[in-house]
């Protein structure tokens, strides 16, 4: 399994030469976000449609502290991770008690709770206009205002996330989560407290979402209301699914495809979500299994 890592490192180095550094950063930030979701969706079998709750909450809290109290970057990231994990603990506690369709609807409904709170609390969040003026303070004498340097920072964090996630899914904890995905009743019978492990998966996924949220706020200097809306939740589910959930690199490839797709579509037409919707429908009807699986099929046909 050395090959994917080499490919990935090459992609990290080459990407800023192909697209603007801001978009390159966005791709890896979205990949961190997707990796967090994938722990739930791919490895635990929990379809959370409310990931932007953690992403957005972390972005707002850390962004607000960065803006008004001038905290340093590391502290902001730490707080973001904490907020992401804490909000995921609250949402997860309510959601893991139900399963199937109820679970999906609950994650969405609680996402709406956070969304409307942010929407109405204009004095802090700026409501519909978003919260602008999030700074990107220097750290250890390194000036993050240069987009390329910030890109290097983001991609380093992305690689750390990927490494951690690899360790998590291969650890006993990861195996337990996969056992719950495969057969929850059996996992319970063997003696694992399934709701508690699901909640743990929520908290870990939320922490990564929080990290992604803060990085996103610092990248664009603004926390848009969108960052906590169900649209973001849907996007990350889509990105993970087109990449192929249940594989470690799925969300990475997915966010790559998704950001590239949405960036190129948004420059063409203001009503690009329409095209995005069409893309969703096409993928579901014809390309189920995602890019990773499609690639497997193609490579089986041509390289064997």
């Amino acid at each position: 399994m050395k090959q994917p890592i080499v490919l990935l490192l090459a992609a990290v180095v080459l990407l800023p030469f192909v697209v603007r550094p801001a978009i390159a950063s966005e791709i890896w930030i979205f990949a961190i976000f997707g990796l967090g979701l994938n722990l739930l969706l791919g490895y635990t079998g929990l379809l959370s449609f409310g990931q932007s709750t953690f992403f957005g909450s972390a972005a707002y809290v850390a962004g607000w502290l960065l803006k008004h109290y001038g905290i340093n970057t590391l502290l902001a990231l730490g707080i973001g991770i904490g907020v992401g994990a804490a909000s995921a603990a609250v949402v997860g506690y309510l959601c893991v008690q139900r399963s199937g369709l109820y679970f999906i609807m609950l994650t969405f409904a609680l996402n709406q709770l956070f969304y409307f709170t942010a929407y109405q609390w204009t004095s802090v969040t700026g409501g519909e206009d978003g919260m602008p003026g999030v700074p990107r303070p220097a750290m250890l004498g390194i000036d993050f205002k240069d987009p390329l340097i910030y890109y290097a920072f983001v991609s380093a964090l992305f690689l750390i996330t990927l490494f951690l996630m690899k360790r998590i899914v291969e650890s006993p904890l990861g195996k337990i989560l996969q056992a719950i995905r495969e057969n929850e009743v059996r996992a319970e019978a063997v003696g694992y407290n399934a709701p508690r492990f699901k909640l743990l998966a929520f908290v870990i996924g939320g922490a990564f979402s929080g990290l992604a949220g803060v990085l996103y706020a610092m990248l664009f200097g603004i926390v848009p209301l969108e960052a906590i809306s169900f649209v973001f939740s849907g996007n990350v589910v889509f990105a993970t699914l087109i990449g192929g959930s249940g594989s470690l690199y799925g969300p990475v490839i997915g966010s790559f495809v998704f950001i590239w797709l949405s960036e190129s579509m948004s420059t063409v037409w203001a009503r690009w979500p329409l095209l995005l919707g069409v893309a969703f429908v096409i993928v579901v009807l014809f390309l189920r299994g995602g890019v990773v699986e499609a690639w497997h099929k193609v490579s089986l046909r041509f390289f064997k």
């Binding site: 139900r98 999906i104 609807m105 969405f108 409904a109 409307f116 699914l241 429908v281 009807l285």
Partner: protein, 270 residues
């Protein structure tokens, strides 16, 4: 009552078809816009009120037939993605056709103004809305409880294999259920248009509420949907009177509070 109507439609769809219908809010919005368009085009509110929901039901029929039918074997994740994609397409299509700015659509002349109820003045249209929504909920309930096809539908919620073993075309049942759910969403949208006006975001707001109603009332549980719809509506109205900004948040806060005490929902068993 409006919330109960929305929840009822969604409850039917999710209960019978076992899919998360994220396009339910978009169907609601389409109902509202269709009403406004037809009412302006032919100048008669009542005909529009009949025609618009039927249009939405036909749209639902087409959606089920062309897409959702192929997805029953797929996981919830793909069903979700599909309906979410549909919701995006529909809401963007609304912006393309009717423009991004919301506008208000006034109720017909005879329903304008207030009515003296003895103790308070109440807008006539709101009264009409309550009665109409109430009648629709009762009619749906009667259909499901008292007619043969309604019984088949309820059986479909309980046990799909058994229903198809008894020689009933389950796919036809699915199509009818989806169309009926779409019809209820459409008529809810059409009834709302004169008081809340029209804007492209109205579908999403309603979608969240419909989910709350179903999560509290239980999938396929009609009385549960009605009760949850009423609780949510009353809670929202009470809070709106004192603290307008929080009136949307309170819907979800009430849901979270109820679920803390009763994780299985108000009447839920699963």
């Amino acid at each position: 009552m409006l919330y109960a109507l929305m929840g009822l439609g969604l409850s039917l769809i999710t209960g019978i078809l076992n899919i998360p219908n994220f396009a339910h809010g978009a169907l609601f919005a389409v109902g509202a816009y269709l009403l406004a368009t037809v009412a302006v085009a032919i100048g008669n509110f009542w005909i529009a009120l009949v025609v618009a929901p039927i249009g939405v039901a036909l749209l639902g029929l087409a959606i089920e037939y062309a897409g959702i039918r192929r997805l029953y074997a797929a996981g919830h994740d793909y069903q979700l993605l599909f309906t979410f994609g549909l919701a995006l397409i529909l809401s963007e299509a609304i912006i393309l056709i009717w423009g991004p700015i919301g506008y208000s659509h006034l109720p017909p002349d005879i329903l304008r103004g207030g009515m003296d109820l003895g103790f308070t003045m109440y807008p006539k249209y709101r009264l009409f809305l309550m009665v109409a929504a109430g009648l629709l909920v009762v009619a749906t309930w009667l259909f499901l409880e008292k007619t043969r096809y309604g019984a088949i539908m309820r059986a479909g919620i309980e046990n799909k294999e058994m229903v198809s073993l008894l020689g009933i075309d389950i796919h036809k049942l699915f199509t009818v259920a989806f169309a009926l759910g779409a019809y209820l969403a459409g008529i809810a949208g059409a009834l709302t248009a004169p008081i809340r006006g029209l804007n492209p975001g109205m579908g999403v707001d309603m979608l969240g509420i419909a989910f709350v109603v179903v999560a509290l009332g239980g999938l396929g549980n009609l009385l549960g949907a009605i009760a949850a719809g009423l609780i949510i509506g009353v809670a929202q109205a009470l809070v709106a009177a004192y603290w307008t900004e929080a009136s949307t948040v309170v819907i979800y806060a009430v849901m979270a509070a109820i679920l803390l005490v009763r994780p299985q929902g108000l009447f839920g068993i699963r």
